[in-house]
């Protein structure tokens, strides 16, 4: 005896099949979208889509900086150039670059001064500090939601549209390079640099080695603005680049070497 399927049963099966097909494809679509957002967009380059702002990395590069603390006069021109270049909140109490004034013969952060008024004093030396773009960045390891990562050219970036604002990366940064937007940043429209996105409130931001400039072959704003040419920037993989040359010729040191963060800013004295 053959079993017959009634029309009613057939329609029912059709309905169930159709519903699961639509549901399934919708779920797949969602998953694909999530995948794109998370992996392609999130991991490989600074977030694209509505917040695309960074050019693609130049293949084979590894950016580094050398700062000549013997030449540095502590004028803080780099700090202010960076402030304007990166659309930092005009009311912010932070700058990406901190210039510490220390007594000659001493390296003591705790006794350093950042609010000095007279520059280029005989009895002091000056050291600018900013994000070191560590090869082994504790801030990236600490971020609970993978909203910050190290790019292939070594620049540590933040997805401002993903950061939940827990500020755990600030705690994990030994160089105090990261800063939080406690409110909606205010930048006068005529002063906005269109190449750099203005961050929303409640996210962390920091120095990006001027990713929008350096990936197009220009120097970061701090390097360009330095009146005594104390800052040098270039590709560490290229033996002919200014940084590689200086590192070969002079004796460098790095900050907090003992923490194993492997920073990519060297100082030479």
């Amino acid at each position: 005896m053959t079993s017959k399927i009634t029309r009613r049963q057939f329609l029912k099966m059709l309905g169930i099949g159709g519903a699961s097909l639509i549901g399934g494809s919708y779920a797949t679509q969602l998953r694909v979208r999530a995948f794109e957002e998370v992996y392609k967009v999130g991991k490989e380059s600074v977030a694209r889509g509505p917040h695309k702002y960074a050019p693609e990395p130049i293949p084979g590069t590894k950016w580094g900086m050398v700062i000549d603390v013997k030449a540095c006069i502590g004028c803080r021109t780099c700090r202010e150039a960076c402030f304007r270049e990166n659309n930092i909140d005009r009311d912010a109490s932070f700058r990406y670059i901190k210039v510490l004034q220390m007594e000659k013969g001493k390296i003591e952060f705790e006794h350093a001064d950042t609010d000095y008024t007279e520059i280029n004093k005989e009895e002091y030396w000056y050291i600018p500090i900013q994000c070191m773009q560590c090869e082994n960045p504790p801030c990236v390891q600490g971020c609970p939601v993978t909203a910050t990562w190290k790019e292939v050219d070594g620049i540590v970036v933040i997805d401002y549209w993903k950061c939940i604002g827990c500020r755990y990366c600030i705690i994990n940064c030994p160089y105090w390079a990261r800063h939080f937007n406690w409110k909606e940043p205010r930048v006068p429209p005529e002063e906005v640099n269109p190449e750099v996105p203005i961050r929303p409130k409640g996210v962390v931001e920091k120095c990006t080695f001027c990713i929008h400039r350096t990936r197009k072959g220009r120097e970061p704003a701090c390097v360009e603005s330095c009146p005594v040419r104390a800052r040098h920037f270039g590709d560490l993989n290229d033996p002919e680049s200014p940084v590689s040359k200086i590192l070969k010729e002079r004796v460098p040191f790095r900050l907090k070497e003992e923490l194993g963060t492997n920073p990519k800013i060297w100082y030479v004295g």
């Binding site: 600490g142 609970p144 939601v145 993978t146 755990y168 937007n181």
Partner: protein, 385 residues
């Protein structure tokens, strides 16, 4: 009325007096003010709090640490009953587990409150970073909350058998230890902050957590005994709880001594460490820290250590309150150690603002409200089985 075997005593609520409902109303008003303050915080950002660039975490995280700690005490008493046959604590079973559940809930509430972008919190599930201990902290807190609810359900629905309770304890006790350890490690594993980067962080969190949890349980039981007619707890039970509290305090003080010694001993001292601890011992926050050690640490320990004073219920109450205040101050001391001087040597100052306090008060009120309602709605008494 019974739902899933849990008796809901709406009659008790109906018969509750005016005093009870006035109390509930007061709590609701506090919650309302807090919710409005939180709305302001969402609108204007965390600028309305006292937290700033150098002092990046504040009152919210201090409370988060406190409540994670308070969540332990109850469960540790409950485990004592099941694992070690501490029969004298049997009548507190349900209340102890309720305390654990409510406290861990409040602790978890403080996390989204502290976030700059709480609406993105789903990224914890979408793209968790397993290098970050923060992810494990979130996971273990949620697990602990679920376990507490299961425990509570088993106890309230009368399904509890000795073996089932034993089984649940064996799962939830390590989780209780886990929430403290992992919460402590969120700061203890940060190599960037010298004073936090110590292996002692987890043990010291656990010891002060248990002390504060026990103290809260004692206070709560005393209040319930005083203001309700149906709950009766023996004096002997409070005496042994007091003894336990004294022991835990001793351990806690020992850990503190160990940390201070490591920081200040001549050939152990490093400037980075001693400079940061000096903020607490002789600097800006020294009134908090010194009173935390002497008035809210050593004094209650001595009072609870001597049998004569321990057996006085008033002394026990005051000591428990002191212990709670002490642990609260200690959580602030931890903040000061990490943020008082930042890794570049800049000094940070922190004073909580009014909206911040209002939001925190509201979270506290939510917890007290849940307990207030639960005491009437559920039968929290435990008969030995």
């Amino acid at each position: 009325m019974r739902i899933l075997g849990v008796e809901l005593r709406f009659n008790e609520l109906k018969n509750a007096g005016l005093r009870y409902w006035c109390f509930v109303l007061a709590l609701l008003i506090i919650i309302g003010v807090g919710v409005y303050s939180y709305y302001l915080q969402l609108k204007y950002g965390l600028i309305i709090t006292g937290m700033r660039d150098i002092f990046t975490w504040g009152f919210y995280i201090q409370n988060f640490w406190l409540f994670v700690g308070l969540a332990a005490g109850g469960l540790i008493i409950y485990s004592g009953v099941n694992l070690f046959g501490a029969k004298q604590f049997m009548p507190t079973n349900k209340i102890a587990v309720l305390q654990a559940a409510v406290c861990v809930l409040l602790a978890m509430l403080f996390i989204p409150i502290d976030l700059g972008n709480p609406q993105r919190v789903y990224y914890f599930l979408l793209t968790p970073n397993f290098d970050s201990i923060f992810v494990f902290d979130a996971a273990v807190l949620n697990l602990y909350f679920i376990l507490c609810i299961i425990d509570l359900f088993v106890l309230l629905s009368g399904r509890a058998t000795h073996n089932l309770e034993l089984g649940l304890t064996i799962v939830s006790l390590p989780t209780a230890i886990g929430i403290h350890s992992i919460t402590a490690w969120t700061i203890g594993l940060a190599k960037a902050r010298e004073m936090w980067h110590t292996a002692l962080m987890a043990p010291i969190f656990i010891s002060s957590a248990v002390a504060s949890g026990l103290a809260l349980l004692i206070i709560m039981l005393l209040i319930i005994r005083k203001y309700t007619d149906e709950y009766k707890f023996e004096d002997e039970m409070f005496h042994s709880a007091g003894k336990l509290l004294a022991t835990v305090l001793l351990v806690d003080l020992f850990f503190l001594l160990s940390e201070i010694l490591t920081t200040y001993w001549p050939y152990s001292e490093t400037p980075g460490h001693s400079m940061r601890l000096e903020i607490l011992t002789s600097g800006r926050y020294s009134p908090f820290f010194l009173s935390e050690i002497f008035i809210f640490g050593i004094l209650p320990f001595l009072l609870l250590w001597y049998p004569k004073t321990r057996k006085n219920i008033t002394v026990l109450t005051v000591s428990s309150i002191f212990v709670l205040i002490g642990v609260f101050l200690k959580r602030f001391a931890f903040l000061g150690l990490g943020f008082g001087i930042n890794p570049l040597g800049h000094t940070g100052v922190y004073v909580p603002t009014l909206p911040e306090l209002a939001i925190t008060m509201a979270v506290w009120a939510i917890g007290i409200l849940i307990v207030t309602i639960s005491i009437k709605l559920f039968d929290m008494k435990t008969e030995p089985h």
